[in-house]
């Protein structure tokens, strides 16, 4: 098998399990590079990567940019707020402009679900989804799974909780899709307003009571809760949300001692997760960030037609 035989990386659903394995293998190789003094390789020399973020983001954008730079790509960061987009330019016209300048990879974050899918059907360049609306955030899911794999060797048989605003979360959707694919049991937890029954189509369990499920969890992903959900009456107050669904120090004590605590960031300390928990030895929140760069390097590398790196090492 060679690289990823696809133009775009849009969601977890469209990836084969074989491709996922390949991404993890090469990510391991790239992560090893981080310990060396020279961290760059010439894999994408002469290629142009554009990051096009229609929503604010710190870690995902920087992670992609660092990944591209470490692969020696030419990098353009389109700052949407200062570009023609504010003059009313359409998405398709903006990207055709980037294509006319020979952009090879468009890394896009967009508030509208399926915007990267729409784009991929209408342009030649590779589209990498850096998060679309509530729909998908495949590179986040891949780095989450990779981070658990690093700790446990396999997801097979693990019970993983995803807690919080499932309904409006692209991370939750991509995570559950991938964790299930890799053999884990997934429990979604939050109030019914944020965890609709429809999610059962992912073959996951649903709980409204965090205290019930924490003793079972091998890993837990604490999603960020947003102010606008409270405004929309999905829950009455942050105080009540914290009481019911925050991962507090007290709740952490009732978890398995080696439970893995994840958070996609940015963290609302004191709302969905207490600071002692975020900074506890169980937390891999910073490790997730490091792994994010390796996973994204792996994706660029494989989309560029790179051969599996383990085989390269053998030869």
């Amino acid at each position: 098998m060679e690289g990823l035989k696809r133009k775009d990386l849009l969601d977890i659903q469209s990836l084969t399990t074989e491709e996922i394995t390949l991404i993890f293998q090469s990510a391991r190789y790239f992560k090893d590079l981080f310990t060396r003094s020279v961290k760059t390789v010439p894999v994408l020399r002469g290629k142009t990567v554009c990051t096009l973020f229609y929503e604010p983001s710190t870690r995902t954008r920087i992670s992609f940019e660092l990944a591209a730079k470490r692969l020696s790509a030419d990098l353009i960061n389109v700052a949407v707020a200062t570009s023609s987009v504010v003059k009313g330019e359409s998405l398709i016209d903006t990207v055709h402009t980037l294509e006319a300048m020979n952009a090879d990879y468009i890394v896009m974050r967009h508030a509208a679900s399926l915007a990267p899918h729409f784009l991929s059907k209408n342009i030649r360049a590779s589209v990498i989804n850096a998060g679309d609306g509530f729909h998908a955030h495949p590179t986040q899911a891949l780095l989450d799974a990779y981070s658990v794999l690093e700790k446990r060797g396999s997801l097979e048989g693990l019970t993983i909780g995803i807690v919080g605003d499932i309904k409006h979360s692209r991370v939750a959707r991509s995570d559950m899709e991938l964790f299930k694919r890799l053999g884990a049991r997934v429990i979604l937890c939050g109030p019914p307003t944020l965890v609709p029954d429809e999610f059962k189509i992912y073959d996951v369990d649903i709980s409204y009571n965090l205290d019930d499920i924490i003793p079972e969890l091998d890993a837990v992903n604490m999603l960020r809760i947003q102010l606008e959900r409270q405004k929309g009456s999905h829950f009455p107050s942050f105080r009540e949300y914290h009481r019911q669904y925050a991962l507090t120090a007290d709740r952490l004590e009732r978890c398995k001692s080696d439970v893995i605590v994840m958070h996609p960031g940015p963290i609302n300390r004191g709302i969905e997760i207490d600071h002692q928990v975020a900074d506890s030895p169980n937390s891999i929140i910073n490790g997730q960030v490091t792994n994010g760069v390796a996973v994204r390097m792996s994706i660029f590398y494989l989309l560029a037609g790179g051969t599996p790196l383990e085989e390269m090492e053998k030869s």
Binding site: S90, G133, H135, P196, F199
Partner: protein, 425 residues
């Protein structure tokens, strides 16, 4: 010139006639329907061998965008598209710019339509400025030519205003057409709420958004004894509610659109914004219920909700694209293909939904094939395939998820008021 239609299978849903007959048109009237009419000189002969001869089709729900968005469609342009699609009468919805809330605007539509090939019967607004605050001058509007009232595109959210509209319109005996949607429950949704919206991360519109409003309007119709017509029914639950209301003797009729009996929300996965309409495409269970509802008579009418939008509006993020697809040109192909061929509708069962039923709701003396009636006639070949492609679609907007598809059912000739207004090349 007078017209003689030879050898066609004449279908008149009103009388139940289904027979091989000739039809002679003289002036603007149907002069004779019988077998073996001799071809006298001076007649234009239309050979309808292998074709159905049906009453001119009536579409009681189109958007021709004029005044205000003439880049999308015009009254004359839309009428030409309608003629090509087998329609001899259409009702234009009033959500134009400005909206149709005074007599001068109704007259403007009628005047424009006189230059076009078919009949246009305007629907005027229920409320002034479509603001949902005060009812329009319905008497003046009816005098100007309005055949019904609707704030289509959005609901009348105020229950008391809906009550007043249904009560007041009783004196004109015209329908109040409800765009049934609780916009608070819709909550900025863009597709049907269910498995697909969950998987795609798109905001859902629950069926209940439609059903809650239908239930409200049915009860207000019971209270007022007003005439209620429900536009674009899309869900199984809506049909249950309307069925109940008809059983109770409430004066209600309803329509569905071809896309609701042809597609489900699976189409969104493939077509994105081209499959975005309001109400949204639902599920297979709803689609089946709609087909059953048409067969059992709960659903009275097929109307297209023809909604032209420019390509650049549809070629953007689905969330930002406008609701609506064009429907005139695919109507006959979908009726023949989906209802007649796939679901065993007789031609009479299928075409009454497009002829006599809407004519009765709108009180038009049309929709029948009988001697002495206005010669609005559509001739179509149910065995001939059409491919819905860029050349087939003559509408200036081509926003349809059916592009590239083949269907049975080809409109061959359209006669309106005794004039041949369309002939397939």
């Amino acid at each position: 010139m007078d017209i003689l239609i030879k050898n066609g299978r004449v279908i008149d849903p009103e009388s139940g006639m289904d027979a091989l007959m000739d039809v002679r048109v003289s002036g603007d009237r149907i002069a004779e329907i019988s077998t073996g009419i001799g071809a006298a000189s001076g007649y234009e002969i239309v050979d309808a061998e292998g074709c159905l001869v049906v009453p001119g089709l009536i579409d009681m729900h189109v958007h021709f965008r004029e005044p205000g968005s003439e880049d999308k469609e015009t009254i004359i342009g839309g009428s030409i598209v309608a003629a090509k699609s087998g329609f001899t009468s259409v009702c234009t919805m009033p959500n134009t710019t400005p909206v149709i809330d005074n007599q001068a605007l109704v007259r403007f539509i009628k005047l424009e339509a006189e230059k076009g090939p078919i009949n246009v019967f305007p629907i005027a607004n229920i409320t002034k400025g479509a603001k949902g605050e005060e009812i329009t001058e319905m008497g003046e509007l009816v005098k100007g030519g309005a055949v019904g009232f609707s704030d289509d595109g959005k609901p009348v959210m105020s229950s008391i205003l809906m009550r007043r509209a249904l009560e007041y319109a009783r004196m004109f005996d015209v329908p109040i057409i409800s765009h049934a949607e609780d916009i608070l429950l819709t909550d900025e949704g863009i597709m049907n709420e269910g498995a697909n919206s969950t998987l795609l991360g798109l905001k859902g519109i629950p069926r209940e958004s439609e059903e809650v409003m239908i239930a409200r309007d049915l009860l207000i119709a019971r209270l007022t004894k007003g005439r209620l017509h429900i536009a674009h029914v899309s869900s199984a639950g809506s049909i249950e509610l309307i069925k109940w209301a008809k059983g109770e003797g409430i004066r209600v009729t309803c329509e569905t659109a071809p896309h609701y009996f042809s597609l489900t929300d699976d189409a969104v996965v493939e077509h994105l914004a081209m499959a975005k309409m309001n109400p949204p495409l639902r599920t297979e269970r709803d689609r089946k219920a709609i087909i059953e509802g048409m067969k059992s008579g709960v659903i009275d009418v097929i109307a297209t909700d023809h909604a032209p939008h420019l390509m650049n509006e549809k070629m953007q993020e689905m969330e930002y694209a406008p609701f609506g697809i064009i429907g005139l040109e695919t109507a006959v192909p979908l009726v023949i293909h989906v209802l007649v061929r796939e679901n065993n509708f007789s031609f009479i069962e299928a075409f009454k939904l497009l002829t006599i039923n809407p004519a009765r709701i709108l009180k038009l003396d049309r929709g029948e094939l009988k001697e002495g009636k206005t010669a609005d006639i559509t001739i179509l070949n149910p065995a001939r395939q059409v491919r819905v492609d860029e050349t087939f679609i003559i509408s200036r907007c081509k926003n349809t998820p059916f592009i590239g598809k083949d269907f049975y059912g080809s409109v061959e000739f359209t006669i309106c008021g005794g004039k041949l207004v369309y002939k397939k090349a």
